[in-house]
């Protein structure tokens, strides 16, 4: 230690730590769950694939605290996701999810169900696809036919076990945000050792009646975090966007809002059973400080249902972001369980209520 070090340490001590909006609250929830269970609670391995060639750049943190068991092995389509969300609720002994609506899931389920890839090495089954507006959930089951196990625990929680090295295709290219979660037999007792599931949660602009998923190279990451390629191949299949119904709503707001000296135009709200997106426009050139004012103040969003239930950040994951080219800011609420869009009465943001109906 010399004088320079001491001065720098003192300077460092005086600098505050800037945490993302809601960081403490999300970590509190995780800690509460871990403490309550008094046992190991494994977090599903979740990857965020952010594609910056599309509009919204996500910057705030979102946290997946998922259940670890899915007991829906024999179910498919909307029934699969009904069971999936029921399990989510059953694994949460803290919150009340009485507002959950799974009855709508069969109507927003794609006809793409069943085996889509069948080779000597790999089978891929679509367990379910549910689509509404700008939000898609896809659950796949992958079977490595010639392997005894796809578990490869190398000590790295995020990367252990088999997985695809790359995930491409028009579904992901059309998505602003994709969250990928892998499930293995060590956490899901319905899976065999040579099987795993992948859940893709995508938010994007979907105007086509069909989207492609390309999964490339099956293998695992070794202890040096190099990818060990077991099958150097690619598997491609289509997902039909042919649901019977769409319960999403796009509400035109077009009102000015003010955050200190920052003036924004609140353009619109897109709400689906799974997500709620709010868009704001700044008519000046993009300045990050402006966005920061927005992101610092946008966190206290709540949704009021017609029966008086208030949905706060306990019931959704919150993210916000911007597109520097258009200077549009966005906030994304990702609901833990599907809601009834028609039951939403109002959304409160910046201390202002916005009626939805």
């Amino acid at each position: 230690m010399n004088n320079f070090d001491e001065i720098i340490r003192e300077k460092a001590r005086l600098e505050s730590i800037s945490l993302p909006v809601g960081f403490d609250e999300r970590n509190d929830i995780l800690i509460e769950k871990l403490s309550t269970n008094n046992v190991n609670v494994k977090k599903p391995r979740t990857f965020y694939i952010l594609r910056y060639r599309t509009a919204i750049v996500l910057i705030a943190a979102i946290l997946i605290i998922g259940s670890t068991t899915i007991a829906a092995e024999q179910l498919t389509g909307g029934d699969f996701f009904t069971q999936f969300f029921n399990e989510e609720v059953n694994n949460d002994n803290i919150n009340n999810f009485g507002f959950m609506n799974t009855e709508q899931l069969n109507n927003i389920s794609s006809s793409t169900i069943g085996t889509v890839i069948s080779t000597d090495e790999v089978n891929i089954d679509v367990l379910g696809v549910v689509i509404s507006g700008n939000t898609v959930n896809v659950m796949l089951k992958v079977t490595a036919n010639k392997l005894n196990s796809v578990l490869h625990n190398n000590g790295n929680i995020v990367l252990n076990n088999y997985r695809f090295q790359d995930e491409r295709g028009s579904l992901f290219e059309s998505s602003k945000e994709t969250t990928t979660t892998y499930y293995f037999s060590d956490e899901d007792s319905n899976l065999k050792d040579n099987e795993f599931k992948i859940l893709y949660k995508c938010i994007g602009n979907y105007n086509s009646d069909k989207y492609t998923i390309n999964l490339d190279k099956l293998g695992y990451y070794n202890q040096n975090l190099d990818f060990v390629n077991i099958y150097d191949a690619g598997w491609q299949f289509d997902i039909s966007f042919d649901t019977k119904a769409d319960y999403s709503k796009d509400i035109f707001i077009d009102q000015d809002i003010f955050i200190d000296d920052l003036s924004l135009r609140f353009n619109n709200i897109q709400i689906t059973p799974f997500t709620c997106l709010l868009y704001f426009e700044n008519d000046k050139d993009f300045v990050y400080d402006d966005y920061e004012k927005f992101s610092d103040n946008v966190s206290s969003i709540t949704i009021k249902l017609k029966d008086g239930t208030i949905l706060n950040s306990t019931y959704f994951k919150y993210t916000c972001g911007f597109d520097s080219e258009t200077n549009i800011y966005g906030a994304i609420l990702d609901f833990t369980v599907p809601i009834t869009v028609n039951d939403v009465e109002s959304i409160t943001i910046f201390d202002q209520d916005y009626l939805i109906n």
Partner: protein
């Protein structure tokens, strides 16, 4: 349950610094929070292995660093985050705002991490060596180069920090 309460309090007390280290490695809010979450989970899984509670801070920092590097390696396989919010500030920006954090962000990753652990977390060379699983000599060498780089930045901007 008593042990869980102790662990909860320790994590709550330390999570701002965990986030600061993670954001320094990952330069991405989402990944940084993910790393803290993973470290939190791992802390609960392995708390029984921690024999000396006084060593919680270096222990959890080591877990966090491992998680952050795991995520970092995975992220490199995906699309580069061109519009990332935490970017290397240019020298001209530093002229306007000499904040140590900004100066540290201009360093390469290896030096950045050493700077955070040494200057912000007040960790010793030995502790950094254990946390990063690199020899103490390497930490020393990186720290010397970090000092020089920081001195150059501050001198360049006319800030005589260490007179």
């Amino acid at each position: 349950m008593q042990k869980n309460n102790i662990l909860s309090n320790l994590i709550i007390e330390n999570r701002p610094r965990l986030y600061r280290i993670a954001i320094n490695i990952l330069k991405n809010y989402i990944d940084a929070e993910d790393a803290v979450s993973e470290a939190t989970c791992k802390a609960y899984e392995n708390f029984h292995k921690l024999k000396d509670i006084e060593k919680f801070k270096p222990w959890i920092i080591k877990i966090l660093i491992n998680e952050a590097y795991s995520i970092s390696n995975k992220r490199k396989k995906y699309v580069p985050l061109n519009d990332e919010i935490i970017v290397n500030n240019s020298d001209s920006e530093i002229i306007d705002n000499i904040i140590l954090w900004d100066a540290v962000q201009t360093l390469d990753e290896n030096f950045r991490v050493v700077a955070i652990l040494f200057y912000y977390e007040n960790m010793s060379i030995k502790e950094i060596s254990k946390a990063l699983t690199i020899p103490e000599g390497t930490v020393n060498s990186r720290l010397n180069r970090t000092r020089q780089k920081l001195k150059n930045i501050f001198l360049k901007e006319g800030v005589a920090l260490y007179e």
